[in-house]
């Protein structure tokens, strides 16, 4: 239990918020709007899973927002051009993986700092997309939304897919050797090498992985509305990094898990609708988000100080 203190405290905070909402604004829990809200977070969750892996490996990727946008637009254009979804999905995932591989190459092989590398790719991709699209929406054919299923079915499929992925990944991170490699490399790359792991390969692959997940997330976003806005991924990187960190994944690598990241994401995602339901003015939102992030890290800092005593 003590080992999961951090995750449990986030879950506790989340429960407190939900309880507060249940008391003051029970309407929050009406099934349909809630399902819609949760569905909107499904792509974010997928990307957050990737980010958790990257941060556990002691790297960071701030280009996910841009990759998300680029994949969304490209996938949207392919769909609009009449490609079947069965082809667009792998195309989008592949494109994301390709960008991830670029980041991974620069970080793992050239040993450049990931924060600067992904900053550069973030700016380059974002501005490149702006240049080409000039903000214009991509209109999609009707068959795309909810993959042609009914709305509720589509939403359930998306949420189910995201949760399924979460469960599978969380399981794999714990029960498949490769998942444990991430922790080993993130804790101490040299010790990992001595234990027969190849840290560079792991680093490269984890970037490819987050890229692929971002491409997948873009597809899950695409299926939710009949239009794609090229700005769609703006700010996604900060959102997922904050969620992952609030969820107890240590920025110094090697610690944390996907469940914590999941709880962190839900907590941060709750803020905005909670403020709406509590009829708090919108201009408090960013300050509250910032305060939550700070509280989470301060609590962590205080606790680890105590432990070190």
């Amino acid at each position: 239990m003590k080992r999961y203190f951090r995750e449990l405290s986030v879950v506790g905070a989340l429960l407190a918020v939900l309880l507060g909402l249940a008391w003051f604004a029970p309407a929050f829990f009406s099934p349909q709007p809630l399902l819609s809200l949760v569905t909107r977070e499904a792509p974010t969750l997928v990307v957050a899973c990737g980010m958790a892996c990257v941060i556990i490996t002691r790297q960071i990727d701030i280009s996910v927002g841009s990759i998300f946008s680029v994949c969304s637009v490209c996938a949207g254009l392919l769909v609009a051009r009449g490609w079947p979804l069965e082809l667009v999905l792998p195309a989008s995932v592949g494109l994301g993986a390709l960008f991830g591989a670029l980041n991974g190459f620069l970080v793992a092989v050239l040993r450049l700092p990931s924060i600067v590398v992904t900053l550069a790719t973030m700016v380059t991709l974002r501005q490149g997309l702006n240049l080409i699209r000039q903000g214009e929406f991509v209109n999609l054919p009707d068959r795309v939304q909810w993959f042609g299923l009914s709305q509720t079915a589509g939403q359930l499929v998306l949420v189910g897919a995201a949760l399924g992925l979460l469960v599978a990944l969380a399981w794999a991170m714990r029960h498949i050797a490769a998942g444990r490699y991430l922790y080993a490399v993130g804790t101490d790359a040299e010790a990992a090498r001595l234990a027969g792991i190849r840290p560079q390969l792991v680093t490269l692959l984890v970037f490819v992985f987050i890229g692929a997940l971002t491409g997948l997330g873009a597809m899950m976003n695409l299926a939710q509305s009949p239009q794609v806005q090229p700005l769609t991924g703006n700010g996604l990187e900060l959102k997922v990094i904050a969620a992952v960190v609030v969820g107890g994944v240590a920025i110094s690598g090697g610690r944390g898990n996907l469940w914590g990241a999941f709880a962190g994401l839900l907590l941060l995602a709750c803020v905005s609708p909670a403020l709406t339901h509590l009829h708090v003015e919108a201009y408090w939102e960013k300050a509250v988000q910032g305060a939550i992030i700070l509280l989470a890290v301060v609590a962590d800092g205080l606790r680890s100080r105590q432990n070190n005593r």
Partner: protein
């Protein structure tokens, strides 16, 4: 060993230094800057319909570039010591916004005279920096996460205080002078920028403080063992960053004649880019103020120069092109910085200990 015996070795060294100097990162960046400048001078200058020389190659344009680079330049100056200590501060752009509206509020709602409001704003900037500093040094939290939190918090406070909507305007002429006029031939704010650059440069390169920053960046434990006041120096760096962000906020307000909660949005990324482009290692320990200034200049010239190129104008894409090229330039600079090491690593016999590729057969 006698001094005479050492002399030849040292002068030999000096000669090698001279060659090293020419291939230093800063020099390479200077070549890039000159090349950029010449390119835009020739490709971005023309004579217009009325026979007036227009475009990049005019003094006006050069001064505008200077004027527009001051705020991001200041933030880059603030970030250089931070990054040299192997830290990071993502909150400077948001702090610029918060300071701008607090300055406006103090002057407009508080009815304080401009100089007093300025003084208080600087104090607020330093205080906000101190918040980062306390969290980072006293609680030993990673700077990236702390300042990610304050990045949101400061911007959020700015929005909350103005409820998003209030814009402070109608600043008096003599205040706007700072941001919009020239003084002694240069845009007024350029003098402030130069002073801050000088001050930070001296602090970093000519005082024991700068020494401490570098040492902390290279070896935080080593610095502690050398009896350096690591926590205090780290705190200073973040407080200083807050202070400089406040100066940037005042200049920003004076340049635009308005203070609004969105001031400085996204500036931190430009500033970090400029610092890293200027040769400061994100891992800490190395970096210079001249490098940072060159980094800022390279980005500013690129951005403004592109806007003068006919082909870019026809595409209406100055901003996107400059973002694109800045990102690419950063990648190229980074790759170039490690290329010699990579190449020497490719040589068959290696003496490094930390390589993790499979060893070659004996």
């Amino acid at each position: 060993m006698s001094p005479a015996a050492q002399a030849p070795a040292i002068s030999n060294k000096a000669r090698r230094d001279w060659r090293a100097l020419l291939t230093r990162h800063e020099m390479l960046l200077l070549y890039v800057l000159i090349a950029e400048w010449l390119f835009f001078y020739f490709a971005g200058t023309s004579t217009n319909r009325r026979g007036v020389i227009v475009g990049f190659g005019t003094w006006d344009r050069q001064f505008d570039i200077l004027r527009h680079s001051c705020e991001i330049g200041l933030l880059a100056l603030a970030l250089t010591p931070v990054i040299i200590t192997a830290g990071i501060d993502l909150s400077v752009g948001s702090l610029l916004g918060l300071c701008a509206i607090l300055f406006g509020k103090l002057w407009h709602d508080g009815g304080l005279p401009i100089p007093v409001a300025m003084g208080l704003t600087l104090g607020i900037g330093a205080l906000a920096g101190a918040l980062n500093a306390i969290l980072i040094t006293a609680l030993r939290l990673p700077p990236l996460i702390v300042t990610l939190g304050t990045y949101s918090l400061f911007r959020g406070l700015a929005e909350a205080i103005t409820r998003g909507s209030i814009t402070y305007t109608d600043f008096p002429e003599n205040f706007l002078f700072i941001g919009q006029e020239r003084w002694l031939g240069l845009p007024t704010q350029a003098w402030i920028f130069i002073s801050v650059a000088l001050a930070v440069g001296l602090l970093l390169h000519r005082t024991t403080f700068g020494r401490a920053f570098r040492t902390i960046g290279l070896a935080p434990e080593g610095a502690r063992y050398a009896g350096l006041p690591v926590e205090r120096r780290l705190a200073l760096v973040y407080v200083l960053a807050g202070l400089i962000a406040a100066i940037a906020a005042i200049i920003y307000t004076a340049r635009l004649g308005q203070a609004k909660a969105d001031a400085g949005t996204g500036y931190e990324l430009f500033a970090i880019t400029a610092v890293v482009l200027g040769g400061t290692s994100i891992f800490g320990g190395t970096g210079t103020i001249p490098g940072t200034l060159l980094g800022v200049a390279a980005i500013a010239v690129l951005k403004n120069g592109l806007a003068c190129l006919p082909v870019v104008m026809r595409l209406n894409a100055a901003e996107e092109m400059s973002g694109l090229l800045t990102g690419a330039l950063l990648l190229v600079a980074l790759t170039a910085s490690v290329l010699p090491k990579i190449l020497s690593n490719l040589r068959p016999r290696r003496h490094t200990t930390t390589q993790s590729t499979p060893p070659l057969s004996p």
